[in-house]
Symmetry: C2
Subunit: 351 residues, 2 copies
C-alpha cells in the first residue's frame, strides 16, 4: 500500500505464477517442456549474442513473423509477435474488449484472465463448466463484450473440437473471440484455419510449451489483418521493441526444428497416456487431457496433503486453492524417468 | 480501423520509433551506443542459451536486481526490472498517475510520454521549455497528478542539476515524480541518491544506451519500496516474466563490465565535444549536450533538406517534424570514424 498508487493499482489482484524453486526438484508445476531446445536452436541464440546487440531489434520482428506465418499456413499480415503469450493476451484484452459489456470465460480456466480484466478496468462474467469440466459452447451467448477460451483448457487439460469453437464464433459475430492455444500442440486442433472465415477470431500461441522456450518469452497471435493491426497499435503505445534480438533468432530456429519438436511432442503425449492409465489403475480420477499436464484426484486423500507429501519428496506439482478444483492436483508431464519417480512416490504414499 | 477495436484502441496515436534500416548505413538516428558489448558480456549471453531455456526465467529477476542495486548503491527492494525502460515507464504511468489530474512534462521531450497517457486514459499538460530549451523547475507546480522529466532531456540533450530536480521534488511531495535517466551516464548526475529522502521519486534507467544492449531489452526503476511494489503489482497483472533468461544473464555481466563501459562512455563524451566544436566552427548551432546525441541547426538550410542529403549519402540521423524543433536534426554520437565521415559530408554540403 502506498499513497502514490492510483485507484487502479490499489484495486489490482496480481497473478501469482507457479514457483521456480531454487533447490533441485522434479519440477512438474509450471507445464514446462521436459525436453530442452535442440543444439541447433541453442546455437542460433548463441550466434545472435554478438556485436549487433548494441542495436535495437527489428520492432516489427518481420523475419520471425514471416517464419511463423509459413509455419501455421497464413500470411505475415495475420501474425503478431509479443514477449510471451501473456503479453499477447494482455494486448488482446486491451485492444478489443469494451468497458460496457462483460468478457466471458469459463469459471475454471487460466487465472490470469480475471487479472487482465481488473487491470484494464473491464468487467467479466464466468461461465460454469459442465459437471465433467467440459465447456458447453451454447452457454456463450448474450450481450457479450468478448470471449476467451483456452483450448485445451487449463488447468483441466480438456479440449474443445473445432466444430464447438465454430458454434461460439457463429453465435458471436460482433465481438472478438480469443482462443488461447498455449497447449494446442499436445493434442487439440488449432483454430488458425478458421481465421479467414471469422474476422473476429484471434488465436494465441506460445513458444514456451511445445517449443520448450519458456525462458525466451515469445508468443504469437494469428487473426484477421484488422485484429493484428489493433494489437500493433496497443504494442506501439506501450513498448516498441518487446521481442529482443536473441528471442527473435531463437524462435525462428525453433520453428524450423520441426522433426525434433514433433518427436518430443509425441513422447510427451505417450507419457501422458501411460501415466494416466497407471494412475487410474491405482484409483485416481484423471481428467482426459489433450495437454502436457493432467488434473488428478484421489478419492481418499485431500489434494493439499498429497501436494505436501510430494513436495517433501522433492516433487513439485501445482495445487490451486480455488472452488471446484481444490480437490485436484495439476501435474505437468515430465520425462519418462521423472514420471516413473512421480508414480512410485504416489504409489508408496497411498499404500 | 476495425469494428472490433474498442474506444481506447481507436483513439490511440502509437509511437513511431526511429528507423532500423535494412541496408548498410552510418546509423546516427536512434541513439545506440557505437561500441558493442564486450566479449565477456557476449559470452555470458551465449552461456545462458542452454538447456535451461526450457524453464521460465526467475519472475522477480532477483540476481539481476541484486546486481543493479549494488551497482547504483541501493537495496534490492528499491529496484524494479522490466523489458526495456519503455515498459518500465509505461508501468510507472500505469501504477502512479491518477485519472483526475494532469501529468506534466516538457513540451519538447521523449514523444512516448503523451502516447502512454493516451493509452492509459490519462490527461497531460505540456510545460514549455525556456527559449534556450532548458527546463524551469519552478514551472512544475499546481494541481498535478504526476511529473515526468527526462534527464538529460531528449531530444535536446540538455541536463538538469540535482538541485533543480530537488526543487521539483520539494514542490510536489504528493505525486509521483519520474526522472527518466536513459542518457544519464553520458554526462548528467543521477537522482538515485535522492530516493531515501523522496518516497515519491522514481528513477528510470536502461541498459540500451550506456551499456550498448539495445537489442536485449532491459530497463530499471529505482525508488522507495512502496513505488517498486506498485510497479510489481502492475507487472504481475500484465506478464509475470517480462525479462527472459538470456537478458537477465547478459545484463548482469554488463553491470560487472565497469572498466570497458566507463572507457566507452569517456570516448563517446570526448567525441561529442569534438564534433560539437567542429560544427560550431562551421556555423552550426549545437545545443549543449550531456547525452550521446546532439541537436544541431544550420542558419542557412532547412533541417529536412540536410536530413535528405545525409540519407542520400547513407548517413541516417533523426528529423522531428514537431513544433519548436523542426529546424533541428538530432545526431547520435557514433565512432570517431563515423563522425569524421559525418562532418566531412556536412562540410561538403554547406560549401
Amino acid at each position: 500500500m502506498s499513497r502514490f498508487w492510483n485507484q487502479r493499482t490499489l484495486a489490482l489482484k496480481p497473478y501469482v505464477p507457479g514457483e521456480q524453486p531454487k533447490e533441485k526438484m522434479i519440477k512438474l508445476n509450471t507445464n514446462e517442456n521436459p525436453y530442452p531446445p535442440s543444439d541447433r536452436v541453442q546455437q542460433a541464440m548463441k550466434e545472435a549474442a554478438d556485436d549487433r546487440m548494441r542495436l535495437y531489434p527489428d520492432p516489427d520482428a518481420s523475419a520471425l513473423r514471416q517464419t511463423f506465418a509459413e509455419y501455421v499456413g497464413v500470411d505475415e499480415k495475420n501474425v503478431f509477435v509479443g514477449n510471451g503469450s501473456d503479453e499477447v493476451l494482455s494486448f488482446a484484452f486491451d485492444a478489443f474488449f469494451p468497458e460496457d459489456k462483460p468478457v466471458l470465460f469459463p469459471d475454471v480456466t487460466y487465472s490470469f484472465y480475471p487479472v487482465y480484466c481488473a487491470h484494464l478496468g473491464l468487467t467479466y462474467q464466468t461461465v460454469p463448466l459442465r459437471e465433467d469440466f467440459t465447456i458447453d459452447p451454447a452457454d456463450y451467448v448474450g450481450e457479450i463484450g468478448g470471449i476467451v477460451i483456452a483450448n485445451p483448457n487449463a488447468p483441466t487439460g480438456i479440449a474443445l473440437s473445432l466444430d464447438e469453437i465454430e458454434i461460439i464464433l457463429k453465435n458471436n459475430p460482433d465481438c472478438a473471440v480469443v482462443i488461447d492455444e498455449a497447449y494446442v500442440r499436445f493434442g487439440a486442433e488449432s483454430a488458425v484455419q478458421l481465421i479467414d472465415r471469422y474476422p473476429n477470431l484471434l488465436v494465441v500461441q506460445t513458444m514456451s510449451k511445445s517449443h520448450a522456450l519458456a525462458g525466451l518469452r515469445v508468443g504469437f497471435a494469428v487473426g484477421s489483418a484488422e485484429l493484428i493491426e489493433g494489437l500493433n497499435r496497443v504494442k506501439n503505445a506501450f513498448n516498441s521493441y518487446p521481442v529482443d534480438r536473441i528471442a527473435q533468432a531463437g524462435a525462428i530456429a525453433s520453428l524450423q526444428d520441426v522433426e525434433i519438436i514433433d518427436a518430443n511432442l509425441n513422447t510427451i503425449r505417450a507419457t501422458r497416456e501411460g501415466v494416466s492409465v497407471a494412475l487410474r489403475g491405482i484409483g485416481f480420477d484423471v481428467l482426459p487431457s489433450s495437454s502436457n499436464f493432467i488434473m488428478i484426484r484421489y478419492w481418499n486423500c485431500p489434494a493439499k496433503t498429497l501436494f505436501d507429501h510430494l513436495r517433501e519428496k522433492k516433487i513439485l506439482v501445482r495445487y490451486f486453492d480455488l472452488p471446484r478444483i481444490d480437490d485436484y492436483l495439476r501435474v505437468t508431464i515430465g520425462t519418462k524417468d521423472e514420471m516413473r519417480t512421480f508414480l512410485d512416490t504416489v504409489e508408496d504414499f497411498i499404500e
